[in-house]
């Protein structure tokens, strides 16, 4: 296989002739400075108030002023502690195990603090469950320093003190209690044993209070299904590493499905293992409507409409359990392709038996019951109901009743905690209006939000990094959260306030400790559990044995297809989730793994539907993507949202992400997107809507998908099928490019053809990084980890649109069209040159219908023969003996030659000063937000180039620690931010001079290759060829 597949990053590349694309290919910096226009325009020159002479005067003056100002250094004060806490040594980091449970994410974490401030969140790798972190969890440290946080309790918007505040509310509570008026305590899911106790005590004190749990994105029907089968409201847990056949029907389990955290197990099974020639890996087939992260990773992805998905589950159920449910459910034309695949799936499931797993994200109790039964019938090893997850608890009926009662006024008092129903309910506005009329309305929140704007009392609660808490995320798996910083503001924890209101003198902390020592630890050490952040007891859930024979009436839940309506599938983006961290600039600038779009949500539309409705996407001169607006109509509501044409989107369906369109408590730059919750009627993620073209205006997206384009170098990704991998030689599927020397073909990596003198790197450390394209799910946790470790600035939507994003680490997403390698090869072999390639790919729609996706994280490759180093006129970038390509920012004069000469496009230029600059009003513009900065890494100033340093501050720290302790460094000691953050262990970092190290083995692995090997840069980052399981058995 000489050539690989044809890849494209954006539909733009499929066009026959694209001027934009040519421009991108030929120019590193798309937009030229407009000096030519200005100089040739005589009129403008004359009109300009600044003459050339004036300009020179200003230059002279400012140079002189600057140098005079430099003579006098500023006086810098150092203020030591009065009494230094024992555990704090200025300059050294402390780590604390903790846990996050913000109502959407439930994870065990590790918090890195410096001088008493949390600066980074890491995975708690020792915890046996939910230890992986996603982008939101890692970014949550920035939400601690959100300048929009509430500074203290307020009554009708006026800041008051806690005593008066509590007194007033207790009075009202007593009053309401006396009159026996309904009061509701509406909270997020709090899987906390002690909080449950506290709430129960509170309710026993005020019996008129009813506790209702509300999840902004509901999983209620899945929980209902589990409850009706096994007796408790929980999720079954899954160990994807034990599954050989994974069938997912609309379950985005690599993102947020059932709380997420499955990427580790999944990736374990995705790496081909076993003896050479007999390697095996899991087979993953995904049926879905939107192009999800999980679908992008699947070996086979079948786009289907929502009702087809339900039919598929029914079909599988009836075949696996040998129960004919209702044969009249047939697959129509749209689902025909899917139905063919279903037969194949059933065959596979039966074959792999215990090693198979079926999961679904369809929010339907019947469907979910079937899924549970299928897994039970298969007696799947990956299926765990002994330690089910008990994170989300919301019950749709309860919430619906409650909302009705609130709106019709029969509830007189409301207390909300951790949620924002004013924003997340479709009838949010009515809800807030009703709250305004109540006798008692208290909102417990860290920030001002839509609900708090209607409440009389707003209780400022601390961020989770300032709080105590205990959790039980899985039955028997307990977690402890501890404060890692003194409360920044005058805040009190929800639980402490409830204790106060119930007239108790104790604190939440002492309650947790007592509860744990009495009921959970039973003699085990509290300090040890606090240190670990978790405790696992031998408590197990035993489902009731008496299994009833379920009767399904699936007909009602499968709506007839009407071609007039579109299935609008609402989904959470991995960067934004339910939107509770929408004011977090890291997450706003986080590119969506699939669409590579930042700072927006949009309607994802298939290209066929786009054509039908007249939606357009096109790139403008500076490379920015523009899209039409669509009017989405459902019942009496309508929403205008921009359209993004999404390859792989099932025809007849469209997707829209939650979490955007928030206004209250948000900085102006972040009040963007549309609020999809407005259409989230009855907590159904699928809504039938009518969609039409709106206006002739275009929305400006800030995508980074066209940026840093391939420049026709398609072999940047190498992939093959498991069959070829097993049967053919390495030189077939992972060949080393050859060049001709004296008419002899010589591999490019041989010394023969090397024109460089190489350093001797055999002594000391030589760092290498391996990125496994099979394990990488593209989730992007590494991007946020890199952000927080290296003080990467946020540049804002306008700048991202101009290709000025600053991410040191990007995850490129490639689409490829041909379904089999053979046909792909035929197509590719038949053509030469890009223009012709595109003509072969003329049928854009076909290519766009259901592409295969590959993710490739790219950061600085730290080339041993780095092209950037040779072109720097001031030697600001140079090579270290340890393999790192150094960048001395203070030496850089900003010529940008290096970026031009970088074949991987990983260098980022500081076009502006992004800190202390009102034009970039993100976290680096206020004192609070700057507290998150890593003091070991300099904040770059305007006009300098920056890039991945391979976290040299971390490798140096590891070395120093070894020196201080006088020991050798073990394998595994070296780690960088991205490798630490990777839940799927796709990124491995280490020292290849250590012959026993994991990285050495990976570097010598058959699958290993370097990016653009033919360029001869000899990078220190190796990639592992992607293997797809195309097994057609």
């Amino acid at each position: 296989m000489k050539k690989n597949k044809k890849y494209w990053k954006s539909s733009e590349e499929l066009k026959k002739e694209s001027k934009i694309l040519d421009k991108f290919k030929n120019k590193e910096f798309v937009e030229k400075l407009p000096e030519d226009i200005f100089i040739t325009n005589k009129q403008a020159l004359e009109d300009s108030s600044t003459s050339r002479r004036d300009f020179l005067k200003y230059v002279g003056f400012s140079t002189a002023a600057a140098s005079i100002a430099a003579c006098e250094g500023p006086v810098i004060n150092s203020v030591p502690y009065v009494v230094q806490p024992d555990e704090i040594i200025p300059g050294n980091a402390n780590y604390y195990a903790s846990a996050i449970a913000d109502g959407y994410d439930f994870r065990n974490i590790l918090v890195k603090t410096r001088e008493g401030r949390p600066i980074k969140i890491l995975q708690n790798k020792d915890s046996l469950s939910l230890g992986e972190s996603n982008a939101r969890v890692l970014a949550s440290v920035l939400s601690l320093y959100d300048s929009k946080r509430l500074k203290g309790p307020t009554t009708e918007g006026i800041e008051v003190n806690w005593d008066d505040f509590n007194q007033e509310i207790i009075e009202k509570l007593k009053n309401l209690s006396k009159r026996n008026e309904k009061v509701v305590l509406l909270t997020q899911s709090i899987p906390s044993p002690t909080t449950k106790k506290i709430i129960n005590e509170f309710i026993s004190k005020f019996p008129n209070v009813k506790h209702v749990v509300y999840d902004s994105i509901s999983s209620s029907e899945t929980l209902d299904a589990f409850e009706s089968l096994f007796g408790i409201r929980a999720f079954a847990d899954y160990d994807f590493s034990k599954a050989e056949t994974i069938v997912s029907i609309d379950a985005d389990f690599l993102a947020d499905w059932q709380g997420g955290g499955y990427e580790g197990g999944y990736s374990k099974g995705r790496i081909p293992s076993g003896t050479k020639g007999k390697s095996s890996m899991s087979y993953h087939i995904q049926f879905e409507s939107n192009m999800s992260l999980t679908g992008a990773n699947a070996d086979k992805r079948i786009p289907c409409r929502q009702e087809v998905l339900k039919k598929i589950v029914v079909e599988i159920y009836s075949k696996i359990l040998d129960k004919g449910i209702n044969n009249s459910i047939g697959f129509d034309e749209l689902g025909k392709k899917a139905s063919d695949n279903v037969l194949d799936v059933i065959k596979r499931l039966k074959k792999s038996g215990k090693k198979s797993l079926v999961v679904s994200g369809i929010q339907n109790i019947e469907i979910q019951k079937m899924i549970l039964e299928i897994n039970q019938k298969l007696s799947s090893d990956a299926f765990d109901i002994e330690n089910p997850k008990i994170i989300y608890q919301g019950k749709n009926d309860q919430v619906k009743d409650l909302v009705n009662e609130v709106i019709n006024g029969s509830i007189k008092g409301i207390l909300t905690f951790g949620i924002d129903p004013g924003y997340t309910l479709p009838m949010g506005i009515d809800f807030v209006q009703a709250v305004q009329k109540m006798d008692l309305s208290v909102v417990f929140s860290t920030k001002e939000n839509e609900t708090s704007s209607g409440a009389k009392y707003v209780a400022a609660v601390p961020h989770f990094l300032e709080s105590w808490a205990d959790y039980e995320f899985k039955i028997g798996h307990y977690s402890l959260a501890q404060p890692t910083i003194q409360p920044l503001f005058n805040t009190k924890q929800f639980q402490d306030i409830l204790l106060n209101w119930s007239g108790q003198n104790s604190t939440y902390y002492s309650e947790i400790k007592n509860n744990w020592e009495e009921n959970i630890l039973k003699g085990k050490s509290w300090n040890q559990s606090l240190h670990d952040g978790f405790y696992i007891s031998n408590k197990k859930f035993r489902p009731s044995k008496n299994k009833k024979d379920h009767k399904y009436n699936i007909h009602n839940s499968i709506n007839p297809v009407s071609s007039n309506f579109i299935d609008l599938v609402l989904y959470p983006k991995i960067g934004m989730g339910d939107g509770n961290q929408a004011n977090n600039p890291w997450l706003q600038e986080f590119p969506d793994p699939i669409t590579r779009t930042t700072w927006d949500n949009y309607l994802t539309v298939s290209s066929k539907d786009a054509k039908k409705h007249g939606f357009k996407n096109f790139n403008v001169a500076n490379g920015g993507l523009n899209g039409s607006y669509a009017k989405i109509e459902a019942d009496d509501k309508q929403i205008i949202a921009p359209v993004l044409i999404q390859p792989g989107q099932a025809e007849g369906t469209m997707g829209l992400a939650f979490g955007y369109g928030k206004i209250k408590g948000m900085k102006k730059e972040m009040q963007i997107g549309v609020n999809a919750y407005k259409l989230y009627e009855n907590f159904q993620k699928t809504q039938s809507v009518k969609v039409s073209l709106h206006d002739n205006k275009y929305h400006e997206f800030a995508c980074i998908q066209l940026q840093n384009t391939l420049m026709g170098r398609g072999d940047i990704i190498k992939e093959t099928s498991l069959e070829i991998f097993n049967t053919k030689d390495k030189s077939y599927w992972n060949p080393i490019p050859v060049v001709s020397k004296n008419h002899i073909e010589t591999p490019v990596n041989s010394d023969e053809v090397d024109i460089w003198d190489s350093f001797d790197r055999s002594i000391g450390h030589h760092f290498n990084m391996s990125i496994d394209l099979n394990a990488c799910t593209g989730c992007g946790a590494c991007i946020i980890a890199c952000h927080s470790e290296n003080n990467v600035p946020v540049v804002g939507k306008r700048e991202v649109r101009k290709s000025r994003d600053m991410h040191w680490l990007r995850i490129d997403r490639y689409y490829s069209s041909e379904e089999s390698f053979e046909s792909d090869n035929e197509a590719v072999d038949a053509i030469s040159g890009l223009g012709e390639t595109l003509s072969v790919m003329d049928d854009m729609e076909k290519a766009n219908e259901n592409p295969e996706v590959a993710f490739q994280p790219i950061m600085c490759q730290h080339c041993n023969h780095a092209p950037c180093e040779t072109v720097c006129p001031v030697a600001a970038t140079s090579h270290g003996r340890q393999g790192q390509n150094h960048m001395a920012y203070n030496r850089c004069v900003g010529t940008r030659y290096c970026a031009n000469n970088c074949p991987y496009k990983v260098r980022r230029f500081n076009w502006f000063r992004y800190n202390k600059n009102d034009e970039f009003d993100y976290n680096m513009n206020d004192d609070l937000g700057r507290m998150v900065l890593n003091p070991d890494v300099v904040v770059r100033s305007r006009g300098v180039m920056e890039k991945c340093s391979m976290c040299i501050q971390l490798t140096q720290k590891t070395i120093l620690d070894a020196k201080l302790e006088g020991r050798e460094i073990k394998d595994g000691d070296f780690a960088v931010a991205c490798s630490k953050a990777c839940g799927s262990k796709a990124i491995v970092f280490g020292d290849i001079n250590d012959s026993k190290s994991e990285i050495k083995k990976l570097k010598d692995n058959d699958r290993a290759y370097h990016l653009l090997e033919s360029v001869g840069t000899k990078p220190n980052v190796v990639y592992q060829t992607k293997i797809r399981n195309k097994d057609i058995s």
């Binding site: 140098s67 430099a70 003579c71 250094g73 006086v75 810098i76 004060n77 150092s78 203020v79 030591p80 502690y81 009065v82 009494v83 230094q84 040594i89 200025p90 300059g91 050294n92 001797d760 055999s762 002594i763 000391g764 600001a876 140079s878 270290g880 003996r881 340890q882 790192q884 150094h886 960048m887 001395a888 920012y889 203070n890 030496r891 070991d936 890494v937 300099v938 904040v939 340093s949 040299i952 501050q953 140096q956 070395i959 120093l960 070894a962 020196k963 201080l964 006088g966 020991r967 050798e968 460094i969």
Partner: protein
């Protein structure tokens, strides 16, 4: 007659001798007692007691009068037993001092205790303040002397000049009287400076080269001036508390890393928190060391600085308790590295085993701390080029050193050979 006289004398002298010797004896023993008492006080009591002031325990002056001597003996030897037995005086004092038990000193004899008490009660005679005329300091004296010589010299030269003029005039007069005609050898009047200038202006080469020289030399000075921008060598800011490294580190020989303990483990050397100061200053409330009167650093001055510390840390000296009212000290930072430089103290102090003085200079001699080194990159690099790495007993280096020294063919490796000149080692 003589004998009588002698007898008489004897009669007077012997008693006199006895009296004097006795009184000497008495005086001598008291002095000895006080000296012994001082020694004992310093070893056993000073940790909790002061002579004149209340500390953890009461002031010792006057206790011998306040309490019965026998009571004191038993109290000092075993106070706890007395409290237990319910002695009213003992219980009272125990209560007064927040039930802080006094250590038992069974090893002290009654004589020892007497000595301690004698020391405590001893009031040294007020030092006779010498009302002598202010001593003219040596420096000023020398200055005056120089001035006088200069004035004298000027006078001598003036006289000489006057004499010469007079002599000349006399000679001319004599010459004219004897008919000798004096021929002036001056050339006809021509403006000499102008002519030189004209000649200079005509010589283009000279003009050119002098302009070049002028430009180069001014360039040299401008460059030299520019190069010192941002280099704060000798920076000696006024600190909120006059902290003397000379006294702490010089006179009292306190290890640098006792206070700057984080230098061993962290990138920062760390300014000690105030509780570290209080480890010693809980007991050292006043300064009793050498004074530097010339600069106004007398005992009172230093004692006042200690009071500033007490105010900052919130220490109530009279009641020996922390008030909790603290006022963090805003020290002025002296050694400021730019943001883009990463420097780690632990690496240099603990791994490299470099003396603090190597970079910070003779701190033990500094009354006021100042920046000793330029802290420029050239200065850093130079040291990295010259310094060998001490690798003994550090397993981290064993293998690397072996291989590297083989490669470079040297016994000892410099920091530079280990990669200490790479940009990224300090700039990230």
């Amino acid at each position: 007659m003589n004998s009588l006289k002698i007898k008489y004398l004897k009669g007077v002298l012997i008693p006199l001798f006895f009296i004097t010797s006795l009184s000497f004896d008495f005086l001598y023993s008291q002095e000895e007692q006080i000296l012994a008492g001082k020694k004992l006080f310093n070893t056993h009591c000073a940790a909790c007691h002061k002579v004149k002031k209340k500390a953890i325990g009461p002031a010792l002056r006057g206790v011998s009068e306040k309490y019965d001597r026998e009571w004191l003996y038993s109290w000092i030897k075993n106070s706890a037993a007395m409290i237990k037995s319910g002695d009213p005086q003992a219980v009272a004092i125990w209560e007064e001092y927040n039930r802080t038990a006094m250590n038992a000193f069974p090893q002290l004899s009654n004589v020892d205790i007497d000595n301690i008490l004698a020391y405590a009660d001893y009031i040294p005679p007020a030092p006779v303040v010498a009302q002598a005329a202010p001593v003219v300091s040596g420096g000023e004296n020398a200055g005056n002397f120089n001035d006088i010589i200069l004035i004298a010299l000027v006078l001598v030269f003036l006289i000489l000049t006057a004499m010469l003029i007079l002599v000349k005039r006399t000679l001319i007069r004599i010459a004219s009287a004897s008919g000798v005609k004096i021929v002036s050898d001056e050339k006809p009047k021509e403006n000499i400076p102008l002519s030189i200038l004209n000649a200079f202006a005509k010589n283009q080469f000279l003009v050119f080269s002098s302009v070049i020289i002028l430009m180069l030399s001014s360039g040299y000075f401008v460059y030299a001036w520019m190069m010192q921008i941002g280099i704060d060598e000798g920076y000696m800011p006024v600190q909120p508390i006059h902290y003397s490294h000379k006294i702490h580190s010089g006179a009292n020989k306190i290890e640098c890393k006792y206070c700057h303990s984080s230098a061993r483990v962290s990138k920062h050397s760390g300014i000690p928190s105030l509780n570290v100061c209080m480890n010693c200053h809980k007991n050292i409330a006043e300064y009793n060391g050498e004074e530097d009167l010339e600069n106004g650093y007398d005992k009172e001055f230093y004692t006042n600085e200690i009071k500033k510390l007490y105010a900052a840390v919130g220490w109530d000296e009279d009641n020996q308790v922390y008030t909790g009212k603290t006022q963090p000290v805003k020290w002025v930072r002296i050694h400021n590295l730019p943001d883009h430089v990463y420097f780690n103290h632990a690496q240099h102090v603990e791994v490299g085993k470099i003396e603090c003085q190597k970079c910070h200079g003779p701190v033990e001699e500094m009354e006021i701390m100042y920046q000793y080194s330029p802290l420029t990159m050239g200065w850093c690099i130079n040291c990295h080029r010259e310094s060998n790495i001490d690798l003994k007993g550090n397993e981290y280096y064993t293998k690397i050193h072996e291989e590297l020294s083989k490669k470079y063919g040297v016994e000892k490796l410099t920091v530079a050979q280990m990669g200490g000149l790479e940009c990224g080692k300090c700039h990230y």
